[in-house]
Symmetry: C2
Subunit: 203 residues, 2 copies
Protein backbone atom coordinates (compact mmCIF):
# COMPACT_ATOMS: atom_id res chain seq x y z
CA UNK A 1 0.00 0.00 0.00
CA UNK A 2 1.06 3.51 -0.73
CA UNK A 3 -0.86 5.74 1.60
CA UNK A 4 -1.62 5.75 5.28
CA UNK A 5 0.77 6.21 8.20
CA UNK A 6 4.47 5.48 8.42
CA UNK A 7 4.05 1.84 9.34
CA UNK A 8 1.62 1.46 6.47
CA UNK A 9 -1.39 2.34 8.62
CA UNK A 10 -2.89 -0.62 10.39
CA UNK A 11 -6.49 -0.03 11.46
CA UNK A 12 -7.33 3.64 11.47
CA UNK A 13 -4.93 4.68 14.18
CA UNK A 14 -3.39 7.24 11.86
CA UNK A 15 -5.02 10.54 11.13
CA UNK A 16 -4.63 10.60 7.36
CA UNK A 17 -5.98 7.22 6.45
CA UNK A 18 -8.42 5.77 3.98
CA UNK A 19 -12.08 6.02 4.76
CA UNK A 20 -14.16 2.92 5.27
CA UNK A 21 -15.79 1.51 2.16
CA UNK A 22 -19.16 2.83 3.22
CA UNK A 23 -17.88 6.32 3.93
CA UNK A 24 -15.98 6.32 0.68
CA UNK A 25 -19.15 5.40 -1.18
CA UNK A 26 -20.97 8.29 0.44
CA UNK A 27 -18.16 10.67 -0.40
CA UNK A 28 -18.05 9.37 -3.96
CA UNK A 29 -21.75 9.99 -4.44
CA UNK A 30 -21.34 13.45 -2.99
CA UNK A 31 -18.37 14.32 -5.20
CA UNK A 32 -20.07 13.18 -8.39
CA UNK A 33 -23.23 14.97 -7.36
CA UNK A 34 -21.29 18.19 -6.79
CA UNK A 35 -19.46 17.87 -10.08
CA UNK A 36 -20.87 15.34 -12.51
CA UNK A 37 -18.03 16.15 -14.92
CA UNK A 38 -15.33 14.61 -12.74
CA UNK A 39 -13.23 11.77 -14.22
CA UNK A 40 -12.25 8.63 -12.33
CA UNK A 41 -8.66 9.83 -12.35
CA UNK A 42 -9.61 13.04 -10.59
CA UNK A 43 -11.54 11.02 -8.04
CA UNK A 44 -8.47 8.96 -7.16
CA UNK A 45 -6.80 12.19 -6.02
CA UNK A 46 -9.77 13.18 -3.89
CA UNK A 47 -10.34 9.78 -2.31
CA UNK A 48 -6.75 8.52 -2.19
CA UNK A 49 -7.54 5.12 -3.59
CA UNK A 50 -6.61 3.42 -6.84
CA UNK A 51 -8.57 3.90 -10.02
CA UNK A 52 -9.73 0.29 -9.87
CA UNK A 53 -11.34 0.91 -6.53
CA UNK A 54 -13.13 3.95 -7.90
CA UNK A 55 -14.44 1.85 -10.75
CA UNK A 56 -15.51 -0.99 -8.51
CA UNK A 57 -17.30 1.56 -6.35
CA UNK A 58 -19.11 3.10 -9.29
CA UNK A 59 -20.19 -0.38 -10.34
CA UNK A 60 -21.54 -1.23 -6.93
CA UNK A 61 -23.34 2.09 -6.73
CA UNK A 62 -24.61 1.87 -10.28
CA UNK A 63 -23.04 5.19 -11.27
CA UNK A 64 -22.32 5.31 -15.00
CA UNK A 65 -19.06 6.54 -16.47
CA UNK A 66 -18.42 10.21 -17.19
CA UNK A 67 -19.31 10.00 -20.85
CA UNK A 68 -22.57 8.24 -20.12
CA UNK A 69 -23.40 10.85 -17.47
CA UNK A 70 -22.76 13.65 -19.92
CA UNK A 71 -24.82 11.89 -22.57
CA UNK A 72 -27.75 11.54 -20.21
CA UNK A 73 -27.56 15.20 -19.20
CA UNK A 74 -27.34 16.24 -22.84
CA UNK A 75 -30.34 14.10 -23.79
CA UNK A 76 -32.28 15.39 -20.83
CA UNK A 77 -31.62 19.01 -21.68
CA UNK A 78 -32.36 18.34 -25.34
CA UNK A 79 -35.75 16.91 -24.40
CA UNK A 80 -36.37 19.76 -22.01
CA UNK A 81 -35.56 22.45 -24.52
CA UNK A 82 -37.84 20.76 -27.02
CA UNK A 83 -40.70 20.43 -24.57
CA UNK A 84 -40.17 23.93 -23.21
CA UNK A 85 -40.38 25.49 -26.62
CA UNK A 86 -43.59 23.54 -27.10
CA UNK A 87 -44.91 24.67 -23.77
CA UNK A 88 -47.20 27.36 -24.98
CA UNK A 89 -49.09 27.12 -21.73
CA UNK A 90 -48.07 26.63 -18.12
CA UNK A 91 -50.10 23.70 -16.85
CA UNK A 92 -51.78 20.90 -18.77
CA UNK A 93 -54.92 21.92 -20.54
CA UNK A 94 -57.32 19.03 -20.02
CA UNK A 95 -60.43 20.59 -21.46
CA UNK A 96 -60.89 23.44 -23.88
CA UNK A 97 -64.03 24.83 -25.44
CA UNK A 98 -62.84 27.79 -27.44
CA UNK A 99 -64.48 31.09 -26.57
CA UNK A 100 -66.40 29.31 -23.82
CA UNK A 101 -64.36 27.64 -21.11
CA UNK A 102 -61.20 25.69 -20.31
CA UNK A 103 -59.57 23.67 -17.55
CA UNK A 104 -55.88 23.22 -16.81
CA UNK A 105 -53.95 21.32 -14.17
CA UNK A 106 -50.64 22.45 -12.74
CA UNK A 107 -48.68 20.72 -10.01
CA UNK A 108 -46.55 22.83 -7.71
CA UNK A 109 -43.00 21.48 -7.76
CA UNK A 110 -39.75 22.45 -6.04
CA UNK A 111 -38.89 25.06 -8.63
CA UNK A 112 -42.16 26.90 -8.08
CA UNK A 113 -41.95 27.52 -4.34
CA UNK A 114 -40.05 29.77 -1.98
CA UNK A 115 -37.37 27.47 -0.59
CA UNK A 116 -37.93 28.77 2.92
CA UNK A 117 -41.68 28.38 3.24
CA UNK A 118 -42.44 25.92 0.43
CA UNK A 119 -45.30 28.18 -0.57
CA UNK A 120 -45.79 28.71 -4.29
CA UNK A 121 -44.60 31.99 -5.75
CA UNK A 122 -47.59 34.01 -6.84
CA UNK A 123 -46.50 34.41 -10.41
CA UNK A 124 -46.69 30.69 -11.12
CA UNK A 125 -50.29 30.53 -10.00
CA UNK A 126 -50.90 33.67 -12.03
CA UNK A 127 -49.06 32.19 -15.02
CA UNK A 128 -51.33 29.15 -15.08
CA UNK A 129 -54.43 31.34 -14.99
CA UNK A 130 -53.03 33.79 -17.53
CA UNK A 131 -51.98 31.04 -19.94
CA UNK A 132 -55.38 29.45 -19.73
CA UNK A 133 -57.16 32.77 -20.19
CA UNK A 134 -55.14 33.38 -23.35
CA UNK A 135 -55.54 29.80 -24.62
CA UNK A 136 -59.29 29.79 -24.28
CA UNK A 137 -59.64 32.72 -26.66
CA UNK A 138 -60.15 31.50 -30.21
CA UNK A 139 -57.95 33.98 -32.01
CA UNK A 140 -54.66 34.23 -33.83
CA UNK A 141 -53.40 36.81 -31.41
CA UNK A 142 -54.59 37.04 -27.84
CA UNK A 143 -52.81 39.16 -25.27
CA UNK A 144 -53.53 40.06 -21.70
CA UNK A 145 -54.63 43.64 -21.45
CA UNK A 146 -55.34 43.89 -17.75
CA UNK A 147 -56.21 41.71 -14.81
CA UNK A 148 -57.61 41.90 -11.37
CA UNK A 149 -56.45 39.02 -9.24
CA UNK A 150 -56.77 37.70 -5.75
CA UNK A 151 -54.71 35.06 -3.99
CA UNK A 152 -57.20 33.54 -1.57
CA UNK A 153 -54.86 31.19 0.23
CA UNK A 154 -51.26 29.97 -0.05
CA UNK A 155 -50.58 27.01 -2.30
CA UNK A 156 -48.03 24.52 -1.03
CA UNK A 157 -45.44 22.24 -2.60
CA UNK A 158 -47.02 19.18 -4.17
CA UNK A 159 -50.51 20.58 -4.46
CA UNK A 160 -52.37 20.30 -7.75
CA UNK A 161 -53.94 23.50 -8.97
CA UNK A 162 -57.01 23.13 -11.16
CA UNK A 163 -57.80 26.31 -13.02
CA UNK A 164 -61.17 26.86 -14.65
CA UNK A 165 -61.67 29.67 -17.12
CA UNK A 166 -64.95 31.08 -18.38
CA UNK A 167 -65.20 33.53 -21.25
CA UNK A 168 -67.59 36.41 -20.65
CA UNK A 169 -67.49 38.46 -23.81
CA UNK A 170 -67.82 42.16 -23.47
CA UNK A 171 -70.84 43.16 -25.55
CA UNK A 172 -69.80 46.72 -26.30
CA UNK A 173 -66.18 46.16 -27.20
CA UNK A 174 -65.35 43.83 -30.07
CA UNK A 175 -61.62 43.65 -29.63
CA UNK A 176 -61.69 42.62 -26.00
CA UNK A 177 -62.91 39.63 -24.07
CA UNK A 178 -63.38 39.15 -20.39
CA UNK A 179 -62.20 35.87 -18.94
CA UNK A 180 -62.84 34.75 -15.37
CA UNK A 181 -60.47 32.21 -13.91
CA UNK A 182 -60.91 30.31 -10.67
CA UNK A 183 -58.16 28.07 -9.37
CA UNK A 184 -58.83 25.30 -6.93
CA UNK A 185 -56.82 22.87 -4.83
CA UNK A 186 -59.23 20.02 -4.25
CA UNK A 187 -62.48 21.83 -3.44
CA UNK A 188 -60.87 24.93 -2.06
CA UNK A 189 -60.60 28.05 -4.15
CA UNK A 190 -57.06 29.44 -3.93
CA UNK A 191 -57.02 32.04 -6.67
CA UNK A 192 -59.47 34.18 -8.52
CA UNK A 193 -58.78 36.42 -11.48
CA UNK A 194 -60.63 38.64 -13.91
CA UNK A 195 -58.71 39.02 -17.12
CA UNK A 196 -59.34 41.39 -19.97
CA UNK A 197 -57.86 39.81 -23.07
CA UNK A 198 -57.11 41.73 -26.21
CA UNK A 199 -58.11 39.83 -29.34
CA UNK A 200 -57.36 40.38 -32.99
CA UNK A 201 -60.83 39.69 -34.45
CA UNK A 202 -61.69 41.32 -37.72
CA UNK A 203 -58.22 42.63 -38.32
Amino acid sequence: MKNGGFHSGRRSCFVIDRLSKKDRHQRLIQLIDENPFVTDRELTRQLKVSIQTIRLDRMELGIPELRERMKQMAEHSYDQVRSLSLEEVIGDVVDLQLDKSGISIFEIREEHVFSKTRIARGHYVFAQANSLAVAVINDEIALTSSADIRFLRQVHLGEKCIAKAYVRSIPGQKGKAKVEVFTYVADEMVFQGNFVIYRSTGE
Copy 2:
Protein backbone atom coordinates in the same frame (compact mmCIF):
# COMPACT_ATOMS: atom_id res chain seq x y z
CA MET B 1 -14.75 5.48 -55.95
CA LYS B 2 -17.52 3.33 -54.63
CA ASN B 3 -20.74 5.13 -55.31
CA GLY B 4 -22.22 6.90 -58.26
CA GLY B 5 -23.43 5.45 -61.53
CA PHE B 6 -22.42 2.26 -63.27
CA HIS B 7 -19.48 3.77 -65.08
CA SER B 8 -18.36 5.23 -61.78
CA GLY B 9 -20.26 8.50 -62.36
CA ARG B 10 -18.28 11.06 -64.26
CA ARG B 11 -19.61 14.57 -63.74
CA SER B 12 -23.13 14.55 -62.38
CA CYS B 13 -24.76 12.94 -65.36
CA PHE B 14 -26.13 10.21 -63.09
CA VAL B 15 -29.12 10.75 -60.90
CA ILE B 16 -27.84 9.25 -57.68
CA ASP B 17 -24.56 11.04 -57.32
CA ARG B 18 -22.69 12.91 -54.60
CA LEU B 19 -23.78 16.41 -53.77
CA SER B 20 -21.48 19.34 -54.34
CA LYS B 21 -19.25 20.24 -51.42
CA LYS B 22 -21.36 23.26 -50.59
CA ASP B 23 -24.62 21.32 -50.64
CA ARG B 24 -23.07 18.58 -48.57
CA HIS B 25 -21.99 21.14 -45.97
CA GLN B 26 -25.51 22.50 -45.79
CA ARG B 27 -26.93 19.00 -45.45
CA LEU B 28 -24.35 18.14 -42.79
CA ILE B 29 -25.27 21.18 -40.72
CA GLN B 30 -28.92 20.30 -41.08
CA LEU B 31 -28.42 16.65 -40.07
CA ILE B 32 -26.39 17.51 -36.98
CA ASP B 33 -28.87 20.20 -36.08
CA GLU B 34 -31.74 17.74 -36.36
CA ASN B 35 -29.92 15.13 -34.32
CA PRO B 36 -26.86 16.34 -32.41
CA PHE B 37 -26.25 12.78 -31.22
CA VAL B 38 -25.31 11.45 -34.65
CA THR B 39 -21.87 9.87 -35.09
CA ASP B 40 -19.59 10.44 -38.06
CA ARG B 41 -20.13 6.84 -39.11
CA GLU B 42 -23.88 7.37 -39.27
CA LEU B 43 -23.31 10.49 -41.32
CA THR B 44 -21.32 8.55 -43.92
CA ARG B 45 -24.44 6.51 -44.61
CA GLN B 46 -26.62 9.59 -44.98
CA LEU B 47 -24.22 11.54 -47.17
CA LYS B 48 -22.57 8.68 -49.07
CA VAL B 49 -19.06 9.94 -48.56
CA SER B 50 -16.12 8.55 -46.63
CA ILE B 51 -15.63 9.17 -42.95
CA GLN B 52 -12.57 11.29 -43.69
CA THR B 53 -14.65 13.62 -45.80
CA ILE B 54 -17.16 13.96 -42.98
CA ARG B 55 -14.35 14.83 -40.63
CA LEU B 56 -12.79 17.32 -43.01
CA ASP B 57 -16.22 18.90 -43.41
CA ARG B 58 -16.73 19.18 -39.67
CA MET B 59 -13.32 20.82 -39.39
CA GLU B 60 -14.07 23.35 -42.07
CA LEU B 61 -17.44 24.13 -40.52
CA GLY B 62 -16.05 24.22 -37.00
CA ILE B 63 -18.43 21.54 -35.76
CA PRO B 64 -16.99 19.66 -32.79
CA GLU B 65 -17.07 15.88 -32.42
CA LEU B 66 -20.05 14.06 -30.94
CA ARG B 67 -18.57 13.80 -27.47
CA GLU B 68 -17.71 17.48 -27.37
CA ARG B 69 -21.22 18.35 -28.53
CA MET B 70 -22.72 16.22 -25.78
CA LYS B 71 -20.39 17.76 -23.23
CA GLN B 72 -21.40 21.26 -24.23
CA MET B 73 -25.08 20.39 -24.04
CA ALA B 74 -24.59 18.78 -20.64
CA GLU B 75 -22.69 21.80 -19.30
CA HIS B 76 -25.28 24.14 -20.69
CA SER B 77 -28.14 22.31 -19.04
CA TYR B 78 -26.18 21.99 -15.80
CA ASP B 79 -25.62 25.75 -15.71
CA GLN B 80 -29.25 26.37 -16.53
CA VAL B 81 -30.55 24.13 -13.78
CA ARG B 82 -28.19 25.75 -11.32
CA SER B 83 -29.14 29.28 -12.27
CA LEU B 84 -32.82 28.41 -12.35
CA SER B 85 -32.81 26.96 -8.87
CA LEU B 86 -30.94 30.03 -7.67
CA GLU B 87 -33.33 32.33 -9.40
CA GLU B 88 -35.26 33.59 -6.40
CA VAL B 89 -36.42 36.51 -8.44
CA ILE B 90 -37.22 36.96 -12.09
CA GLY B 91 -35.12 39.87 -13.26
CA ASP B 92 -31.95 41.37 -11.79
CA VAL B 93 -32.54 43.55 -8.78
CA VAL B 94 -30.22 46.49 -9.28
CA ASP B 95 -31.42 48.67 -6.45
CA LEU B 96 -33.26 47.81 -3.29
CA GLN B 97 -34.29 50.01 -0.39
CA LEU B 98 -36.26 47.72 1.85
CA ASP B 99 -39.78 48.86 2.63
CA LYS B 100 -39.25 51.82 0.33
CA SER B 101 -38.43 51.06 -3.28
CA GLY B 102 -36.63 48.77 -5.68
CA ILE B 103 -35.58 48.46 -9.30
CA SER B 104 -35.12 45.35 -11.39
CA ILE B 105 -34.11 44.72 -14.98
CA PHE B 106 -35.36 41.84 -17.08
CA GLU B 107 -34.55 41.19 -20.70
CA ILE B 108 -37.14 39.48 -22.86
CA ARG B 109 -35.57 36.41 -24.46
CA GLU B 110 -36.78 33.73 -26.86
CA GLU B 111 -38.24 31.63 -24.09
CA HIS B 112 -40.43 34.46 -22.85
CA VAL B 113 -42.29 35.26 -26.05
CA PHE B 114 -45.05 33.75 -28.15
CA SER B 115 -43.14 32.15 -31.01
CA LYS B 116 -45.65 33.43 -33.52
CA THR B 117 -45.73 37.10 -32.61
CA ARG B 118 -42.49 37.51 -30.61
CA ILE B 119 -44.49 39.41 -28.03
CA ALA B 120 -43.75 38.63 -24.38
CA ARG B 121 -46.20 36.42 -22.54
CA GLY B 122 -47.97 38.48 -19.92
CA HIS B 123 -47.01 36.31 -17.01
CA TYR B 124 -43.31 37.01 -17.44
CA VAL B 125 -43.84 40.72 -17.21
CA PHE B 126 -46.11 40.07 -14.26
CA ALA B 127 -43.52 37.75 -12.69
CA GLN B 128 -40.87 40.45 -12.75
CA ALA B 129 -43.19 42.93 -11.08
CA ASN B 130 -44.47 40.37 -8.58
CA SER B 131 -40.97 39.20 -7.66
CA LEU B 132 -39.86 42.76 -7.10
CA ALA B 133 -42.94 43.62 -5.06
CA VAL B 134 -42.23 40.65 -2.79
CA ALA B 135 -38.48 41.36 -2.61
CA VAL B 136 -38.92 44.96 -1.59
CA ILE B 137 -40.86 43.98 1.53
CA ASN B 138 -38.54 43.66 4.50
CA ASP B 139 -40.03 40.56 6.06
CA GLU B 140 -39.34 36.89 6.58
CA ILE B 141 -42.47 35.93 4.76
CA ALA B 142 -44.05 38.08 2.09
CA LEU B 143 -46.76 36.78 -0.19
CA THR B 144 -48.92 38.34 -2.83
CA SER B 145 -52.46 38.74 -1.59
CA SER B 146 -54.02 40.46 -4.55
CA ALA B 147 -53.10 42.58 -7.50
CA ASP B 148 -54.60 44.89 -10.02
CA ILE B 149 -52.57 45.00 -13.17
CA ARG B 150 -52.58 46.63 -16.55
CA PHE B 151 -50.56 45.77 -19.63
CA LEU B 152 -50.18 49.11 -21.35
CA ARG B 153 -48.43 47.93 -24.48
CA GLN B 154 -46.88 44.75 -25.85
CA VAL B 155 -43.28 44.05 -25.00
CA HIS B 156 -41.18 42.54 -27.76
CA LEU B 157 -38.29 40.11 -27.99
CA GLY B 158 -35.01 41.70 -26.95
CA GLU B 159 -36.51 44.61 -25.04
CA LYS B 160 -35.26 45.39 -21.54
CA CYS B 161 -37.95 45.85 -18.93
CA ILE B 162 -37.10 48.12 -16.04
CA ALA B 163 -39.49 47.68 -13.15
CA LYS B 164 -39.71 50.23 -10.36
CA ALA B 165 -41.51 49.39 -7.15
CA TYR B 166 -42.66 51.78 -4.45
CA VAL B 167 -43.99 50.66 -1.08
CA ARG B 168 -47.09 52.51 0.09
CA SER B 169 -47.86 51.02 3.47
CA ILE B 170 -51.45 50.70 4.40
CA PRO B 171 -51.93 52.68 7.62
CA GLY B 172 -54.91 50.78 8.97
CA GLN B 173 -53.76 47.23 8.34
CA LYS B 174 -50.53 46.03 9.92
CA GLY B 175 -50.18 42.73 8.10
CA LYS B 176 -50.50 44.13 4.62
CA ALA B 177 -48.50 46.47 2.45
CA LYS B 178 -49.37 48.09 -0.80
CA VAL B 179 -46.72 48.10 -3.49
CA GLU B 180 -46.97 49.99 -6.76
CA VAL B 181 -44.91 48.72 -9.66
CA PHE B 182 -44.30 50.49 -12.95
CA THR B 183 -42.43 48.75 -15.73
CA TYR B 184 -40.76 50.69 -18.50
CA VAL B 185 -39.05 49.92 -21.79
CA ALA B 186 -36.79 52.90 -22.31
CA ASP B 187 -39.06 55.82 -21.33
CA GLU B 188 -42.29 54.12 -22.22
CA MET B 189 -44.45 52.60 -19.51
CA VAL B 190 -45.53 49.11 -20.55
CA PHE B 191 -46.99 47.72 -17.36
CA GLN B 192 -48.56 49.04 -14.21
CA GLY B 193 -49.53 47.04 -11.14
CA ASN B 194 -50.92 47.59 -7.68
CA PHE B 195 -49.99 44.75 -5.39
CA VAL B 196 -51.26 44.01 -1.93
CA ILE B 197 -48.57 42.00 -0.17
CA TYR B 198 -49.21 39.97 2.92
CA ARG B 199 -46.40 40.33 5.46
CA SER B 200 -45.58 38.41 8.62
CA THR B 201 -44.70 41.36 10.90
CA GLY B 202 -44.84 40.72 14.61
CA GLU B 203 -45.49 37.03 14.20
